[in-house]
Point group: C2
DNA sequence: CTGTTAGCGCATTCAT
DNA sequence: ATGAATGCGCTAACAG
């Protein structure tokens, strides 16, 4: 599976060409083109003009070889086809772009092998840093061993202390639950696909906190564990609604499970926003288009991506503080799927 | 906006280190690690083992400098936050990944300057090829001048002949219109944001062909031009439905306009799938979740991306045929939003 | 089959 | 302020 490497295509001008055309030496060209080092204003202008005239563009590979680093940032994303992650990636890209860097994007399908390959590739390219959404402690270690800056986005990688940007999952879980409580709901179920990470665990914790604060006793049987796909979620939610007919509100922990929750409600002939309130995390497009519109916590993935990139850029600028954890406040978007009991 | 370049991080082993450790010369290491050139099986194994042992990973920048090309492929995408394009990008990434290449992704927001910068960057990195979705003839020319292979996806770039992968827009337009005709609709409106490109123009042509084939006279006043955003589309569709109360079916030419069309129908109190049939292009997630579900043409953007990558890889392998245009057949997905008159 | 030599294009010493 | 020389790490000629 190694790529064939076809030789050159078009020969591009080098510093030497610019030097000749401007009547100076290559090193002067190099200095003039950067802000670093000395060069008389006159020469600087001359060189710049000449470079532009003959269409000189510095060869990134030569420069990177010399500098032992590159302007590229490696980005490993959990699932580009999930709009939540696509937005996150867009946020990263947006911020990198405006600081003259660029993103090498690897989609983490295809199992753990792909992640390992990505790490090797990032290292081989000497990217200046890496942003990670899938949780993988080994990967972080490997990257660190290469001396690369690592920023995690969306979820924490095990117990490792890395720069980290996440939604404020606990607060979000609490706020969403409180919203339902304020509508008079007392039997609120939570549909969950994992509780090991902050995305699952944090939201669960927030949910429980809110329930307790309302003077209720959390009922573990209302917390339904399911798998990560919509089909499984639909089945689990259906079982839950059957086993606990007194449940008046259902929270799905992300956009995929929300899909399942909506399907289950329909299947159970519970009218959303009337017989059953449904709320979810991840404010993706369809949630405002279904009728009734879904009440959600918008976690602002674009912003999470942006902040992750900013944290990384900050490290690259030499920031030397201990690992930071930035919490992006989620935003409650109330629509018609949640209604008074 | 130029990136700071912080010096090295961790010193990594080089060919020389492997050579010393294995007791051979650097060039032997190089040969042994590749399939190219001669190396005795014994030495080959020894070198491979040694390299693995000391954790050698070839420096991509050095290799690229030498080879005057890289394993990177530049990808310029119109809008990563649109699920259609996110899927397309995922398709590209998937295919590149399995052939040992990787993707440098630039999102084409931020105006034309960003595109220009991307071209310069791709060229500077000596990417082995570029895949483009936004339409920009200048960009293609610039890239070509650098000797880079260019593949366009989704839309054709002006009149330039490049490798190209698109949905079969005309057929798709025809099939979707025929579906409505077969349900007895005679006054079918089309909501369109542009007609210069194959995405708009092709679908329009297919629509007109179908109408004519049914023995009807195309009525230009049923083709409503609008802007690219959902709000504008909603307004245009509302006007259309008001001006032409006899319209019984409405086609939106992409997922964004579909959003507007649905809003307009609701606003006009026309019950979708009952008083008004609505159909759209781009089968994105929400279309199967709204009720009634939207009848759509799924253009299979992931597949379009995949095929675009394959075409490019083929060029990189030396394929020398003239420019090819590959049409990905769209798939009609019938749901409840379209019903007999 | 293997080692020696050289150069890809750049940015940085060190002289001047 | 500028030029000459050097080496980043790799691979491909060219000997042997």
């Amino acid at each position: 599976m190694t790529a064939a490497r076809t030789p050159p295509a078009g020969s591009r001008p080098t510093v030497l060409d610019v030097a000749r055309a401007a009547g100076v030496s290559p090193s002067t060209v190099s200095r003039a083109l950067h802000d670093r080092g000395y060069a008389s204003p006159r020469v600087r202008d001359l060189v710049a003009a000449t470079a532009r005239r003959i269409g000189y563009v510095a060869d990134a590979n030569a420069r990177n070889l010399r500098a032992r680093t590159s302007d590229a940032v490696g980005v490993l994303i959990s699932d580009l086809r999930n709009p939540y992650y696509a937005d996150l990636a867009a946020g990263i890209e947006h911020e990198l772009g405006s600081s003259g860097r660029h993103m090498v994007l690897v989609n983490d399908d295809g199992g753990p092998a792909k992640g390992q390959a990505a790490v090797a590739m990032f290292s081989s390219m000497r990217v200046s840093g890496v942003i990670l959404t899938p949780v993988n402690e080994l990967m972080v270690r490997a990257l660190r061993k290469q001396g690369l800056h690592v920023v995690c986005a969306d979820r924490r990688a095990g117990r490792l202390r890395t720069d980290l940007v996440t939604a404020d999952d606990e607060a979000a879980g609490r706020v969403l639950t409180e919203h339902l409580l304020s509508l008079g709901h007392r039997r609120i179920a939570l549909l969950l696909d994992e509780r090991r990470w902050s995305t699952g665990g944090g939201r669960l914790a927030g949910y429980q906190t809110a329930v307790r604060s309302a003077g209720l006793e959390p009922d573990d049987s209302l917390v339904a564990m399911t798998s990560w796909d919509a089909g499984a979620a639909a089945r689990t939610a259906t079982e839950l609604l059957t086993a606990h007919p007194d449940v008046s509100a259902l929270i799905a922990v992300n956009n995929v499970l929300a899909h399942g929750a909506v399907a289950a409600a329909r299947h159970a002939r519970r009218r959303i926003g009337v017989d059953l309130s449904v709320a979810a995390f991840d404010d993706v497009a369809w949630m405002s288009l279904v009728q009734p519109g879904l009440t959600t916590m918008d976690q602002r993935p674009f912003e999470i991506g942006r902040r992750a990139a900013i944290l990384l850029l900050d490290r690259l600028d030499g920031a030397d503080e201990p690992a930071r954890h930035e919490l992006i406040p989620a935003r409650l978007v109330v629509r018609e799927s949640t209604a008074p009991v």
